[in-house]
């Protein structure tokens, strides 16, 4: 195989399939951070909901029960985070890291307790969420390009993929065109002004964290029930941090964040494609070195070589009501 054989088509399809994990988490992070709460605990919430949704989907043989259970646990963790960040006025970074580390251990322990497969759940088999075949796919399959475009790039994905892509305009609308969104952003930029205008900053931030918990759970459920078909120890592999970076890259705006997620999805797809391929100049790269790609890209993005980021002004500062 040479460089020319890199399959652009399959790269695009796997970009679409990689992105939802990041999109759900990225949109979750947007709600949290636009309200002024740093959400570095995305990673732990993804991992917890991935495990719970895989385990429940396996036990009930129904993927939707799995999704619901994953949502419940992710919301619980988000509430804990909200309690620490808003009510306790604790350090939000530390709270997030604590959740990430705790979940990395706990999911293994519980998976081991129930399934005894080295922290893995059994294969979900029929309890996975399967791809939607768009009507007429078979008819257009034979047509070059259009057939591929319709049946494989646009069609042929799980419901959650469509949900992820539909979420982006929805989040944009909520944040910029509703009263709720305006108040939410006000709490992130200038909580004292929001407070003076009669908005309960604490309540608004709790709501934001609740939404973040719900959205983030889909990320984990997608990882376990759609992409892999099982739960594996630490399977989120930094997706929560990548989503956060996509958000920084996107200047805390939904559409640009979405583009950031697509970019990381694309790099992930390229990474799979160049494994075992002889590249010009460098030759064949070892798989472990290629695994670095998304992380290196993240550092480059964060170094601001691509965008100048403007965070919400009150991000990370607990709100203390002035008397």
């Amino acid at each position: 195989m040479t460089f020319e054989d890199l399959q652009i088509g399959s790269i695009l399809v796997s970009t679409v399939r990689n992105a939802p994990v990041l999109i759900f988490a990225g949109m979750a992070g947007l709600f949290a951070e636009r309200s002024g709460v740093i959400d570095i605990g995305l990673e732990g919430k993804i991992l917890a909901s991935a495990f719970v949704s895989a385990a429940v989907a396996f036990a009930t043989q129904n993927p939707w029960y799995g999704v619901a259970a994953g949502m419940l646990v992710s919301v619980l963790l988000a509430t804990l985070q909200a309690y620490v960040a808003i009510t306790q006025k604790g350090n939000q970074l530390v709270a997030g890291i604590a959740i990430n580390i705790a979940m990395s251990g706990l999911t293994f322990v519980v998976a081991q307790f129930f399934f005894q497969q080295g922290g893995r759940t059994p294969d979900l088999g029929q309890a996975r969420l399967f791809d939607v075949v768009l009507p007429g796919s078979a008819a257009v399959e034979g047509i070059p390009f259009i057939g591929w475009l319709y049946a494989h790039l646009i069609g042929g994905h799980s419901v959650l993929v469509y949900l992820a892509f539909a979420l982006v305009p929805l989040v944009h609308w909520v944040l910029y065109h509703t009263r709720f969104g305006l108040r939410l952003r006000a709490c992130g930029e200038n909580p004292h002004a929001a407070d003076a205008a009669g908005v309960s900053v604490e309540r608004q931030r709790y709501m934001a964290m609740l939404i973040a918990g719900i959205l983030c759970s889909f990320s984990g459920a997608y990882l376990a029930i759609v992409q892999s078909g099982f739960f594996l120890r630490d399977m989120s592999a930094g997706a929560g941090y990548l989503a956060l970076t996509a958000m920084v890259f996107g200047n805390w705006r939904p559409v640009y964040t979405f583009l950031g997620c697509l970019m990381f999805g694309f790099f992930g797809a390229v990474q799979i494609q160049i494994e075992g391929v002889d590249l010009p100049l460098v030759g064949r790269l070892p798989g472990s070195l290629i695994q670095m790609v998304p992380y290196v890209v993240t550092v480059i993005v964060l170094a601001g070589l691509m965008a100048k980021s403007v965070a919400p002004k009150a991000l990370g500062t607990p709100f203390v009501k002035s008397r």
Partner: protein
């Protein structure tokens, strides 16, 4: 909810202990839910980590590494930086140490090899922390996310380096060749035979020395004053003449070097070769230690010993209790970070009310 109103004994002793107990209580609940007895588990844990001399020796062996990673996280925290990257810094430092040893271990005597190994480790550890520090100082990219990314990058890079270049020909095990006997840290069991065949070595004393230097530098030197000023209020420190970006880079270099020194105990003190994932989470334990010990040398020491005991006792416990694998202690670590770090003032209002009532 202002802990400045509380007396020092309350914030320095009572609250950390209450926080720790809360974390352990939640852990006990989980152990109970896993169908094991928390009291019995606690008994096994204490017995095999403190009462048994060999166990105690292992506890202190782990603590020696943890003191270094705890110091690494603490010193960054003093400057208001949250270094999550001790794990990757220590991992990469293992490479510096190993390269030095592979080059010199057949030609130089022990008393030269040990400082060279320490230097190699500190240098590589600092190198791995430099870029996150530089990017934080100059570009404002958050050190939390960059250090996490550098952990992942270190993992992938070290995997490549070890498997591709360091495994001796004909070997399957993903590890470098073993160093010569001259590159082994002297073990304490040659003076105290009661410790048995345990890897506790002079790194323990090096860790104590590092704690003392840290204590003096941070609370008794003018540099330490600038360091703490940066952590408390960057703008005020800048106004007072501290060069913030230089301070951030310097403290990250020191932090990385300290994390790197943790590898001296793990490699030269125990395995005598570089292996995949030899760090095994010690960097993350450092975060819990720094938060629990409130970045105070004595606190760091006590927390490091506690975590040494948890790891050592937890390992024995996992052999006896199938449902409590060693990963349980990763969970407990998370709980301790949550209670001692994020919710550190959880009990402040209650204590304040109690004191008020007495008066």
């Amino acid at each position: 909810m202002n802990n400045h109103d509380l007396p020092r004994w309350a914030t320095a002793f009572v609250m950390p202990i209450l926080n720790l107990l809360s974390a352990l209580l939640v852990a006990a609940l989980v152990i109970y839910l896993l169908g094991e007895s928390p009291v019995e588990s606690m008994g096994i844990l204490i017995n095999s980590s403190v009462i048994n001399p060999e166990g105690l020796s292992y506890t202190l062996f782990y603590a020696s590494t943890f003191i270094f990673t705890g110091l690494a996280v603490s010193i960054a925290m003093q400057a208001g930086l949250f270094n999550i990257g001790a794990e990757g810094q220590m991992y990469f430092a293992g490479l510096g140490l190993t390269l030095a040893m592979l080059t010199f271990d057949s030609s130089l005597p022990m008393w030269v090899l040990i400082p060279i190994g320490m230097l190699g480790a500190a240098l590589f550890g600092a190198l791995w922390a430099f870029l996150p520090g530089y990017l934080q100082a100059k570009r404002g990219s958050h050190v939390v996310v960059t250090t996490i990314m550098f952990n992942y990058i270190a993992g992938a890079l070290m995997n490549t380096v070890i498997v591709k270049y360091l495994v001796p020909a004909g070997e399957q095990n993903p590890a470098s060749r073993a160093f010569s006997a001259a590159a082994e840290m002297p073990r304490l069991n040659q003076w105290f035979p009661v410790l048995g065949e345990t890897p506790l070595n002079i790194s323990f004393f090096l860790a104590i020395i590092a704690l003392v230097i840290y204590g003096v530098m941070v609370s008794r030197s003018s540099w330490g004053f600038k360091l703490r000023a940066t952590g408390l209020n960057k703008h005020a420190a800048h106004y007072a003449g501290v060069r913030i970006s230089k301070m951030i880079i310097t403290v990250m270099l020191i932090s990385g070097a300290l994390a790197g020194l943790g590898s001296v105990n793990s490699i030269m003190g125990s395995t005598h070769y570089l292996s995949l994932n030899f760090v095994g989470g010690a960097g993350f334990v450092g975060i819990a230690i720094a938060l629990m010990g409130r970045q105070h040398p004595v606190g760091i020491f006590l927390s490091a010993v506690l975590f040494g005991a948890l790891i050592q006792g937890g390992f024995d416990l996992s052999l006896e209790k199938q449902n409590i694998p060693p990963e349980t202690f990763i969970f407990i670590q998370g709980l301790i970070i949550l209670f001692c770090g994020a919710m550190e003032n959880f009990y402040a209002p209650a204590i304040a009310a109690l004191i008020k009532r007495k008066k």
